[in-house]
């Protein structure tokens, strides 16, 4: 039975926003992307609602919207461009060293080329196999492996672990 569009949105808007937030590294852009996609899905719901997995279809729409959005925005927006994580929420500091490492990693992920970032998100957040990522991104599995390999190389190169013991410095001052 085809779900109604309203039921679909009620069930899926939060997962879609979550996915878009991770994909875009920008909660505000995520809202724009999801909103745009749902508006289009609503207009074509008769067709989309009848496919086997409507949520997978719409998720792919979100991915494509993000990829094209970034492309067209990057082209010539002399201003008002949506920057990535660097200009979004600064880290909410907690007292753990590991938290800072996550924030630093997020900033590096946000700088990845869009397809590499999408591949990384699908692999490490969605836990997709190469074949599923290839289907989502509309490319060959070899291309997926290349995207992820390059992304990991970039992220590893920029990830220089701090010396052991750094995380203990707060405690040292208390003793």
């Amino acid at each position: 039975m085809t779900p109604s569009f309203d039921d679909f949105v009620a069930d899926q808007v939060t997962p879609l926003l979550r996915y878009a937030t991770v994909l875009t590294c920008d909660p505000h852009l995520a809202q724009d992307v999801v909103q745009e996609v749902l508006l289009r899905a609503q207009q074509k719901w008769d067709r989309i609602g009848s496919v086997d997995l409507p949520h997978a279809y719409v998720k792919r729409m979100v991915t494509n919207e993000y990829l094209s959005w970034r492309r067209r925005r990057a082209a010539k927006d002399v201003a008002l461009c949506m920057t990535t994580l660097e200009s979004v929420t600064p880290p909410v500091r907690d007292t753990t060293h590991h938290y800072d490492e996550r924030e630093a990693m997020l900033q590096r992920i946000a700088k990845l080329p869009r397809k590499q970032r999408a591949a990384v998100v699908l692999r490490y957040y969605e836990n997709y196999e190469d074949s599923e990522i290839a289907q989502m991104l509309g490319c060959a599995e070899g291309t997926v492996r290349s995207h992820i390999s390059r992304a990991l190389a970039t992220l590893r190169m920029e990830h220089t672990p701090e010396p052991a013991g750094v995380g203990l410095r707060l405690g040292e001052g208390l003793s």
Partner: protein, 305 residues
């Protein structure tokens, strides 16, 4: 899985915690669907993030509210006698160093955004510290929000990450949103308490597209601004010279020699550049640029307190 891959997973998991509340997206869908149905407005398709933020934002009470103009979302966008669109509310307190960076309208929502004086031109749009004040006929979904008092009126507050939003019903629904500014809860409530109605405030769009005002204008100074409208094509007008680097194909647009670069249409008209982008055929982008009605923009307020 090695350390880097585990760190990637952890980082993405942390990022997922910043997922915005679905309320504004659902509200925007309802509003836009209604507009589609009634064929009154063009659908704003993208990139009104700064204005959309205000859907979360706060509202302020005032002793001097004008009579209601009705529940129609369009009511707030009725041009005033001078051709501007009433903004209606102004904060009388802002954090030190904040200046006005953008004004915008979307559907029934009108908004003003303040940013640090040294913020880039896109501040308040993509991220960074900001204070937004707006009004809308539609009340956001405040389920789960904390009840607060704003100048004796019942309001609602939500703190999510580094953003605090206050909403309350005055003449319209007033929204205050504070992002990444010290104690966001305290700051948002203080801004909200300072908001008063101001009948003199108006948004003067820099251009109209198919009769609709540009969705927003912002910049780093009165002479350095960017205005934008989001229809099926994104149209941007600015005195800024765009960064161009690709191969260009000449095209006639607005009776002038413009060009197409990477699928985007670019033309200079007088003192401004007009750019149309979007996943549309070139002739549709050209048509959008041809539809642009340039207006005398009031940008004197940009980067002033």
């Amino acid at each position: 899985m090695n350390d880097t891959e585990q760190l990637i997973k952890d980082a993405l998991g942390k990022l997922a915690e910043r997922t915005p509340h679905p309320g504004p997206t659902l509200n925007a869908l309802r509003r836009k669907h209604k507009r589609q149905r009634n064929n009154i407005f063009l659908i704003a398709t993208a990139g009104v993030a700064a204005v959309a933020v205000l859907v979360f934002g706060g509202l302020v009470a005032s002793d001097r509210y004008a009579p209601p103009t009705g529940g129609d979302a369009a009511a707030a966008l009725v041009p005033d006698a001078a051709g501007g669109i009433a903004l209606e509310y102004a904060p009388h307190w802002l954090p030190d160093g904040f200046v006005e960076g953008a004004r915008g309208v979307s559907g029934g929502l009108s908004a003003r955004v303040w940013v640090p004086s040294n913020a880039p031109v896109d501040a308040g749009d993509g991220g960074g510290p900001s204070v937004s004040v707006g009004s809308t006929p539609d009340h956001p979904d405040t389920t789960g929000w904390q009840e607060v008092s704003v100048r004796g009126l019942k309001g609602h507050l939500r703190v999510e990450g580094q953003t605090a939003t206050v909403a309350w019903k005055a003449q319209d629904v007033v929204l205050v949103s504070v992002r990444e500014v010290g104690d966001v809860r305290e700051t948002a409530l203080r801004v909200a308490d300072s908001v008063r109605a101001d009948a003199k405030l108006a948004y003067q769009p820099a251009f109209r597209l198919n009769g609709q005002p540009a969705a927003r204008v912002g910049g780093t100074g009165p002479a350095d601004w960017v205005a934008r409208a989001d229809t099926p094509a994104r149209v941007q007008v600015s005195p800024r010279t765009p960064q161009l680097g690709g191969s260009r194909t000449p095209v006639s647009v607005r009776g002038k020699q413009g060009f197409v670069e990477n699928g985007d249409v670019v033309v200079r008209d007088g003192d401004v550049w007009i750019i149309a982008t979007g996943d549309l055929p070139v002739d549709e982008l050209v048509a959008a640029v041809n539809q642009v009605e340039l207006l005398k923009a009031d940008t004197s307020w940009i980067r002033k307190r």
